[in-house]
Amino acid sequence: MSVTAPSAPLRVVIAEDAVLLREGLRRLLTEAGLEVAGTAADAVQLLTLVAAGQPDVVLADVRMPPTQTTEGLQAAVEIRRRWPHTAVVVLSQHVETEHLFELLADDPRGVGYVLKERVADVRQFTAAIARVAAGESVIDPEVVARLVARQRRDNPLAALTGRELAVLALMAEGRSNQAIAAQLYLSPKTVETHVGNMFAKLCLEPAVEDHRRVLAVLTYLRR
């Protein structure tokens, strides 16, 4: 979705109220070759920066001053609504489906929701930023794992094979068929077969586009 040329570095705005972490992130992203277009300590500063610079990606902490509840999340939702060309990655100390669904709204494109501690793996973290900037969705494995593992009466997921479950989880994390194939060392064809079987077993409408698929799977899992 980004119109930026491949050679130009992604322009990122960081919103995080803890100074050390904010500066750490700036360093991390700069060293990884991204351009940090600005940093904000609260949601108001963030919105001002985004309005002025229209960055490619925003990294926002959920909890920020003044109320320390979900300012970052609200700001992210607003950014997605007002500036569709700016992707957002929301960082949190804990992941909750309530936050996730508020963030996804009806359109999971260009949205990421991950645990803060994912910053420890520099490559995966920058890759996630790049994916979001490219219009994909990035959902933290932790929240997906919880949804998959949730106790259900007459659990329909029990009918899935282990491989199908793994495919389901990766789909819910926002991965494309190619990415799933690469991660599971399968051919894209096989993945497609698994996806088809799985949708049939769960009585889900097959969805071709990745972002519709993510929403359908997450909604199904959350029921």
Binding site: G24, Q68, Q93, E98, D121, V122, N155
Partner: protein, 576 residues
């Protein structure tokens, strides 16, 4: 006092013996019934006099009863066959009627109400005396009524029945007018009396009608010379006079009934009834509808009664009296003055009132204390909640944030060390792993202290999180989307969380249904399972703690858990 009473009693006995002796000294003996009635009337007045003296030492009623008694007995002298006692006896034969009128006008306090009434009483005595004197001057017993065996009338001035008749013709209208005045005054007293006085007047009114009727009948009959009526009118009709002492008995009974009713009224009074209900109960029991229960207006010298009327203890209305309440310094009773004649009844009323007020005060105190304890319990729980929220926030902003920063630095170090010393790389890897695990542990710890999702998103999001993590399949059937006060949300969350933990531990089932519904003024939280049932509120400390927690916000926890038929745990939490 006792000696005087004894003397009076001896006098009364002597009078009765004297009367019997005198009546039986005449020949032929009179009819037994006439004698009995005559003696009974005299004796009953003397007896009532003694009793009234004893009961109401401060009142003149005892004296008036006694005077009337002697006024009835002494004229028996006329039965003696000697001229002097015969003359004196006949002369004072009708003084009793005047003292009866006096008694009636002075009822129930023993005092005449005005100068006018004093005048009326004096007029009655005077007219009575004048009438007797004049008729004695012109009455010759030997020629009229009594026969030749009669003793002589020492006062006889002129043996002229014609003069006597003329005087009689004047005396009838005067006597009737005086009777009418007395009767009117009695009716007026009754009409004006309120409360206790009116009650005391009711019997008197009936009795007065009877006595006046008798007196009028006697006057008319004697003036019309209806000789054959004399036995009935002069012998048997005086039985009506017994109603006089009966008045005393009635008033005694009234006081006794009131005492009894007072006890019943206090027992029947609802505990903690408002003061106006206490007043009504006392007024009803006493038969004093004018009773006022007045309380000091805080910060002023004035008093207000239960009907909101201001009461000035220094300036009570006429006929009103004041009684302080023992042990209740800021309240008083204002009642009919006539009630003061029954000091025991007043004392009883006052102590009943103070008992009830004291009871109400203690109850209010206990209720206030309970309210304080409730409020402080709610504050303690709320403070605990706030402390947990603060701890969670401190962890989030402090240790968790620093660990994330540390992880970030370790991650960057690992990137920089890529391709360098493998030992350093593995050291950095394990350090990163440790930091990650510490973060996971810290996250669980923070969630256990306070679920941040509850503060961030409210009940709906927090219940969803609970359901996702619960080891039983949890369906959220209903949950309002709006936010509630922190204490309400925390309590509802705690109930669901504990209930789900109990289902997982004890219910032997794999599913539960959670429903939170908002009803007017309260939130109904219910967790239902189809498991083994048999959970008891006093069974485990978990449920007990839960009940305490719900009670701390003024709610109620109910557990419906028949063995073998599942458990329904419901909490009703008041919320604005």
């Amino acid at each position: 006092m006792t000696r005087r009473l004894l003397a009076a009693a001896l006098g009364a006995v002597a009078a009765v013996i004297f009367q019997v002796a005198v009546i039986y000294s005449q020949r032929p003996f009179p009819l037994l019934i006439v004698t009995v009635i005559s003696v009974a009337v005299g004796a009953s007045f003397l007896l009532a006099g003694l009793a009234a003296w004893h009961r109401w030492p401060a009142s003149r009623l005892g004296l008036l009863f006694t005077v009337t008694g002697y006024a009835w007995v002494v004229p028996s002298l006329a039965h003696l066959p000697y001229a002097l006692p015969f003359t004196v006896g006949n002369l004072i034969a009708s003084v009793y009627a005047a003292s009866l009128a006096h008694l009636a006008l002075a009822w129930p306090t023993g005092r005449l109400r005005s100068r006018f009434e004093c005048g009326v009483v004096i007029a009655v005595y005077a007219w009575n005396t004048l009438q007797s004197l004049v008729s004695m001057l012109f009455w010759n017993p030997a020629t009229s009524g009594c026969g030749p065996g009669c003793p002589a009338n020492l006062l006889l001035a002129s043996d002229s029945p014609a003069v006597e008749r003329v005087f009689d013709q004047i005396s009838v209208p005067v006597g009737l007018s005086l009777s009418a005045i007395v009767l009117t005054l009695i009716f007026r007293h009754w009409w004006r009396a309120r409360g206790w006085s009116r009650r005391a007047m009711v019997a008197l009114v009936w009795i007065s009608v009877a006595v006046i009727a008798l007196s009028v009948a006697q006057t008319v009959a004697s003036n019309l010379n209806l000789a054959d009526s004399s036995l009935l009118l002069y012998g048997i009709a005086p039985v009506i006079l017994l109603t006089g002492p009966a008045l005393f008995v009635v008033s005694t009974l009234l006081a006794r009934t009131a005492r009894g009713a007072l006890g019943t009224a206090i027992v029947d009074l609802q505990p903690g009834a408002p003061p106006e209900m206490l007043r009504d109960a006392l007024a009803r029991a006493l038969g004093d509808s004018t009773l006022q229960l007045a309380f000091r207006v805080p910060g002023s010298a004035g008093y207000l009664d239960t009907a909101g009327q201001s009461v000035d203890p220094g300036q009570l209305g006429p006929g009103r009296a004041l009684t302080a309440l023992p042990a209740v310094s800021d309240a008083l009773l204002v009642h009919d003055q006539a009630l003061q004649q029954e000091p025991q009844l007043v004392r009883l009323t006052a102590s009943a009132a103070s008992m009830a007020l004291e009871h109400a005060r203690l109850q209010a105190e206990v209720r206030a204390q309970l309210e304080q304890v409730r409020a402080s319990r709610a504050r303690i729980v709320e403070a605990g909640d706030a402390e947990r929220r603060r701890l969670e926030r401190d962890l989030h902003d402090g240790a968790q944030q620093r660990l994330v920063t540390l992880s970030l630095a370790l991650g960057m170090a690992r990137e920089q060390a890529a391709g360098a010393d493998p030992a350093l790389q593995s050291l950095l890897d394990s350090a990163g792993q440790e930091a990650r695990e510490a973060l996971v542990e810290l996250r669980e710890l923070a969630r256990g202290i306070h679920p941040a999702v509850l503060t961030e998103t409210g009940l709906a999001g927090a219940l969803q999180a609970l359901a996702e993590r619960s080891t039983v399949a949890t369906t959220i059937a209903e949950v309002p989307g709006r936010r509630y006060p922190a204490a309400v949300e925390a309590t509802a969350y705690f109930v669901v969380s504990e209930a789900l933990a109990n289902v997982a531990k004890h219910a032997l089932t794999d599913a539960a249904v959670v429903a939170i519904r908002e009803l007017p003024g309260r939130l109904l939280v219910a967790v239902t399972d189809d498991g083994a049932g048999g959970a008891r509120p006093d069974g485990g400390s978990g449920l007990r703690g839960l009940a305490d927690r719900v009670a701390s916000v003024g709610g109620v926890l109910t557990i419906d858990s028949p063995p073998g038929a599942g458990t329904r745990l419901a909490a009703e939490i008041p919320c604005p």
